[in-house]
Symmetry: C2
Subunit: 397 residues, 2 copies
């Protein structure tokens, strides 16, 4: 029932244990849902209650700790044996007297792992300040160390099977972006456009269905394009609107994001110029991608182009992407920005997003790419341009 072979999961756990040894950790308590999935296969919308994977140098398989009503989900989706499934009773859930991390601590003690050095993901989603406090209380003999991103860094280089899933996600996002360009028209409500886009994301292709992306379609229009993370409202599109469309295809939790901007009717000369600069900058950045280039080199190539034309972008140009859960499809490891000296290696996958959010207007062109021995493989083929969605005469109807 697992997505990958037992071998692949065991290699991932082995790589985790190697890093644990390097960092002097005896035990690792993993709470990031993507890292839990990566190491065990576990998949379920249960990350709204505390759950954890316990990896120990002296245990051959990770232990799964989660809510009792999700334990059958663990049995259906994890590769490990039945004895590793450690469900907690429902009275731990959203209680003022008990906390699920009390139970995690109990499991750690039960395996005699409470005297060593324990890594926790201090800055992971869903690992609350109280979760940590409860672990510290429940494991007084342990020493804690911050192991945020320990597993994320292993995820940075994808296996060929992971790349294959991201390519299926690329086919889905290509289709969904086509749907967006077909449905966004004067008079249509933003919510109705969003509904069709989401439908295309989830239907997927004939070969493979779409999973829910970690972020909903971000499709601000008009004045709302001047900011990065607004979703849709009820507003009807008007002639002259710019619409930013940032979406992803998702297959088995693996993402391929893609962003484009469109204008309904006649774009302003200002927006046409911006789109040409951004497209040129993106192409220049992609030209730099090859094994051995640094993450900051990619961003520098982009900056050179846009600064030549007098533009400025303070925010990073992109980030590593792949397996994830809400609220983010980014992996939080390598960023394409000044100062990030990470060396690009084959089978790293990035979302390069040239988003310009200016006062009252904005524009986005992005590409998801894979580093390959020869240089770069861009995963989607959507034209790198500002889309114009209605012929001028349509505005007069």
């Amino acid at each position: 029932m697992t997505i990958f072979s037992r071998d692949e999961y065991e290699q991932r756990v082995q790589a985790t244990k190697q890093r644990m040894e390097q960092q002097g950790l005896d035990t690792l308590i993993v709470t990031d849902p993507a890292n839990i999935n990566y190491l065990t296969g576990y998949d379920g919308w249960s990350f709204y209650v505390p759950q954890a994977i316990i990896v120990s140098l002296i245990l051959s398989e990770p232990l799964w700790v989660g809510r009792e009503q999700d334990s059958n989900g663990a049995r259906l989706t994890c590769w490990m044996s039945e004895s590793t499934i450690k469900p907690y009773a429902d009275y731990y859930v959203q209680s003022v007297v008990r906390h699920p991390m009390d139970y995690v601590a109990q499991v750690v003690r039960g395996y005699g792992l409470d005297h060593g050095r324990i890594g926790v993901e201090m800055d992971a989603y869903y690992f609350s300040a109280l979760s940590f406090h409860k672990l510290v209380q429940g494991l007084p003999d342990a020493r804690f160390a911050d192991a945020t991103l320990l597993v994320n860094w292993i995820r940075l280089i994808k296996s060929d099977q992971e790349v294959a899933l991201i390519k299926q996600a690329a086919a889905i996002v290509t289709r969904a972006m086509g749907t967006a360009m077909d449905v966004i028209r004067t008079g249509v409500r933003e919510c109705d456009a969003a509904a069709e886009i989401l439908r295309a994301q989830i239907q997927g292709t004939e070969e493979i269905g779409g999973d829910y992306p970690a972020i909903v379609p971000l499709i601000p229009s008009g004045v709302r394009t001047g900011t990065a993370h607004l979703s849709w409202i009820d507003r009807r599109y008007e002639p002259g609107d710019t619409v930013n469309i940032e979406i992803a295809g998702c297959v088995r939790r693996y993402h391929c994001p893609l962003a484009r901007s469109a204008v309904i009717g006649v774009p302003s000369p200002q927006l046409i110029e911006l789109s040409q600069v951004v497209a040129e900058g993106v192409t220049a950045a992609l030209d730099v991608v090859k094994p051995g280039s640094l993450a900051e080199d990619v961003e520098a190539a982009w900056q050179k182009v846009i600064q030549h034309y007098g533009y400025h972008k303070a925010s990073r140009l992109g980030y590593a992407v792949g397996l994830n859960y809400p609220p983010d499809w980014g992996e939080h490891t390598v960023s394409l920005r000044a100062g990030d000296m990470s060396e690009l290696q084959p089978n790293m996958v990035f979302h390069l997003i040239a988003g310009m959010w200016l006062d009252g207007y904005g524009l986005e062109i992005s590409e998801t790419f894979r580093v390959v021995p020869e240089g770069v493989e861009v995963l989607t083929g959507t034209e790198r341009k500002l889309f114009v969605l209605e012929e001028p005469q349509a505005l007069c109807s």
Copy 2:
């Protein structure tokens, strides 16, 4: 541009300040995205980076602290004046040398609020262990107190305008559940059914568009109905499958959840019996709802019925619901379960979900209800039964 009047937001902030005074807090740092929205109107898919609202007894308006590229979103959605918008630079984002909470601490210091007693939401989503650690480091003169759920408890009793939004969400979920019952058929892929359900959730009604619900459709089928939180896969429905459908309508972030189970073809006698018991139990529980009843009374009425028939359910029967963001639409305050002595009051809204997750099969019937002076107002009218989706003869085709 705000959803509610300035008066309503100011009342909410006033109620928050009252509770702060009762708990001896000078300042409250709010990080739960639903609480941020509740107090300021702020809406955006930006909770994947740290953000906060600072409420102080000596400030008339809350301060918004978030990422620079989201500050225009704050200007578009918040009620406060421009001077309360405190954006942090992009180099704080996913950096190993800086943390956004360093900047939050700086803002707190800048307003001279760092010598008092500061409440933080220790167990809120997106308030990581590291976020707290950074605040403690950055505010050495402050004393910290756990204020988890302080704002959530204010949210428990809805205004009439909030109820009106939940009723619009009820119309949407009714429609989306109808879509589910129309599209789930032998041979259809789960992902294709999910796509149509999501489309209906987002399209909404002619009057109002749907917002993204805080949880994706949970629609396990077959053996996967034995657990609570699986979404869809590529699997094609087969004759005899049971499908659990747990979805919500969402309007302006206000939710109305609804769950039903369906069977494709002929239900087993076991499942028919279970559905009748569950429906009877839900009705008995709703009959107890009125101002002055306790949360645990509602659950006790349910238990009495199912135990009479020899069934058992350990997990809670429901929870307060309303405004929320992923990963949960529940408010984390009152639960319908033994030991919860909260008194029901008018304009509380609950999702009562009778989910039975047994080995290899399961069933769900839920209702979202509002407490009214006369007793209970059930917000949707979907029949309280197991849905049978194909006539027996269809199985022979």
